[in-house]
Every structure is written in C-alpha cells, then in structure tokens.
Symmetry: C2
Subunit: 187 residues, 2 copies
DNA sequence: CCTCGAATCGGAATGCGTTCCGCTTAAGAC
DNA sequence: GTCTTAAGCGGAACGCATTCCGATTCGAGG
C-alpha cells in the first residue's frame, strides 16, 4: 500500500486536533461526527474515509497512550515488563490495565458503544496474547487462551464504569479481587 | 400505580407478538422500531411508551426464558438450585448462564448495543446477588461482591459472540476455564 | 347514559451516524 | 510543464432511534 497523500495526512492531523479540542471543551458527549468535521474544516466524508466510523475516531484518540502502555508491558522495566516472575507480571499487568482503562473511561465507553465488536481486535488481542504467554508459563497444562479472556473481561469499560460510578467501588478493590483469582491459578 | 389501561395492555401484546414474528422471519437485524410499530398496527410513540427504547423491547422479548432461568437457580432442583454444595452450585450456575446467553445471543447483543449500561440492572443484579451469596459461603473472608462480577464478566454476550463466531471456541471450553477459576477460589 | 380528565395514541419532526457520488487534486510518468 | 489517474474531498441524502405534541380514548364518578 502506498504512502498517505499529503492532503490526507494534513486532514488526519486537523481532525484529531479538532476532536481533542472538542473533548477537552465539551466532554465526549459533544463529540459528534458532524461537529468534529465542522471544527476541522473538513467534510464528514473525509472523516469517515480516515477513521472508518465513530469508534475508529475514538480509538485513534486513545492510540497515543495505548502505545506507551503496550511498550511498558512488552519491554519496560519489571514488574510490568520482562524480568519479574509470571504471576507477578500478570498482577502488575491487570492493575496497569485497570488504571489505563479508568483514565480513558469516557472514550472507551463511547468506542465500545459505537461498535461493540470492534473491541476485540487491535489492543485487545495484544493484551490477550500477552496474558496467554504469561499464563502458559504459570500453568502449562491449563487453557491459557480462555483464562486470559476471563481475566480481561472484568476490566471492560462498561463494568468499570458501572461499579465506579454507581456502585461506589474503587479500582483497587476490583484489582484485588483479580489478584485473588490469579493466586488461585498459581495454587 | 394504577392498573394498565385495556388498550395499553392490548397494544403491549400486539407489539410483542409482532416483534417475535419479525425476529423469527428476518432475524434480529430486521427488528427496527418503525417496522415493529407498523407490523403491530401501532404508532412508534406507543412502542416507546411501553418499552422505553430498543433495548427495553429486546429485554421484554427475552423476559419469558429469563424468568424460567431465575426460578431454576433460585428454587429449582440441585445442582443449580438449593441443596448442592456452594462450589458445585457456582459451577452449575455459570454453565447454565453460558448456555442461556448463547441461546439468546442475538437479542442480548442487540440489547447491550442499544444501551450498554442497561445491562447492569434487572437480570444482572439477580445473577450477581446469587453469586455473592454462594461465594460468601465458599470463602467468607473474600470480596464476594467483586469476585461475582469477575466470574460474570467473561460470560458477556459480546465476548461469547466473538469467541464462538470468530474464534472457533466452544461454550464448554469457556465454562471449563471458569470452572478452573472457581477451583482456585475453593483452594 | 353523560361528562371529564388523565392516560394513551400516532405519526410528523428531530438529531445523528453513515453512505454515496460527482468534483477536485496530489503526485508520479514522460 | 503537461498528462493521467487513482486517491481524496465535501456535503447532500438516507436510515433509524428517539422525542414531541395535538388528537383520541378509556373508564371512574355522577
């Protein structure tokens, strides 16, 4: 595939910064496609060409921190990165993922609402693969593939949003419960 | 609150049967509010008055089997109902929930997509409360509240839909993984 | 049977995500 | 510089969920 044309790259940048401005000013609710397009001085068609749909735009806004997070658990310092023992890395990873999710809760909620199955792709696969690797070292005979899903599911944006905002539960309590599950796996 | 007016009750029934007919004929995708209203011979306003929104209509369609399921784990025969030991009941419950979710996957997906946070209310609370009770007996010192969420989350319609339809994973494999987590809790 | 008010009804209007398509333009080839 | 063409652009048009509000109907009380 060819390199992006210069006007396309310029528009992508204009759109992203307009979207960031709007989110900063009016929150995620104010982020409508028409409004972003208008603020960026661009037609809506352009917006869709660049980002696919509303959830694609949201993921693009999330992307920067996402990359940092992935770098941290793939090649950063322990206990998140390589070096610590697997059980410790799993716990550190789940805690870090929970924090990151809470940090970008609104954008993630919007993205998952806009197209619910898009969640399982991109970042999710990276998390999943990472956990599969760690659990495989921890319990070679277990079904790491499904266990990884089971550990990731409780950190969905929807559940976190519900418990944090309506349930009066803190993140640390949720991650502690996950720690408990992990301890059960280790035996 | 007063009893429902007779025309209202009649319309509710007409709407539900029209919706069932449409789902049977064209699947969940064909279930648009305007179409249901037309098929029921009713205005869209009526539909919204009765069911609130699209997801409310979906939950109403799910409701019948839902009641049966709840009766089964609250007062049915063991191992789902009272009588079996807590760990066995947790496992039986999760397996039954997984089956029920798969059975109504399309409707559940639609309902959760339409309004994602509506999921945590009604049926979810019943499941959650049930698990909290069982886990409380299993591990009195643990955080049953959060552990219950953690065991329910992997059975979300979205995750099941993704793994079953795109991942080539079977339900029994997913529930086996959950069994493993439960075993870890029991020690 | 008649009256009256509140509950209900229906469908037009609204808002928003998404798609479509004829026009424009970047950028490599000559 | 010119030509060519595929990529990109913009905004009108569409579909659908949801809201609004004037007209209608139920049903309790007289």
């Amino acid at each position: 595939m060819r390199r992006e044309r210069s006007d396309a790259a310029r528009n992508r940048a204009k759109i992203l910064s307009a979207a960031e401005r709007i989110v900063a000013a009016h929150g995620v609710e104010g982020l409508s496609m028409a409004e972003v397009a208008a603020a960026a001085g661009v037609g809506v068609g352009t917006l869709y060409r660049r980002f696919g749909d509303r959830s694609g735009l949201a993921y693009a806004l999330i992307d920067r921190r996402e990359r940092e997070f992935q770098a941290a658990f793939l090649e950063g310092p322990p206990p998140l990165g390589p070096g610590a023992d697997p059980a410790e890395r799993v716990r550190a990873f789940l805690r870090a993922l929970a924090d990151r999710t809470v940090e970008q809760l609104d954008l993630l909620l919007m993205a998952e609402t806009a197209s619910p199955l898009a969640r399982f792709g991109g970042a999710y696969d990276a998390y999943h693969g990472h956990l599969v690797m760690l659990i495989g070292r921890l319990r070679p005979e277990a079904d790491a593939y499904c266990l990884a899903d089971a550990l990731l599911a409780p950190l969905s944006a929807e559940l976190l949003a519900h418990r944090l905002r309506r349930g009066g539960v803190g993140v640390e309590r949720i991650t502690s419960a996950l720690d408990e599950l992990v301890s059960g796996l280790v035996r």
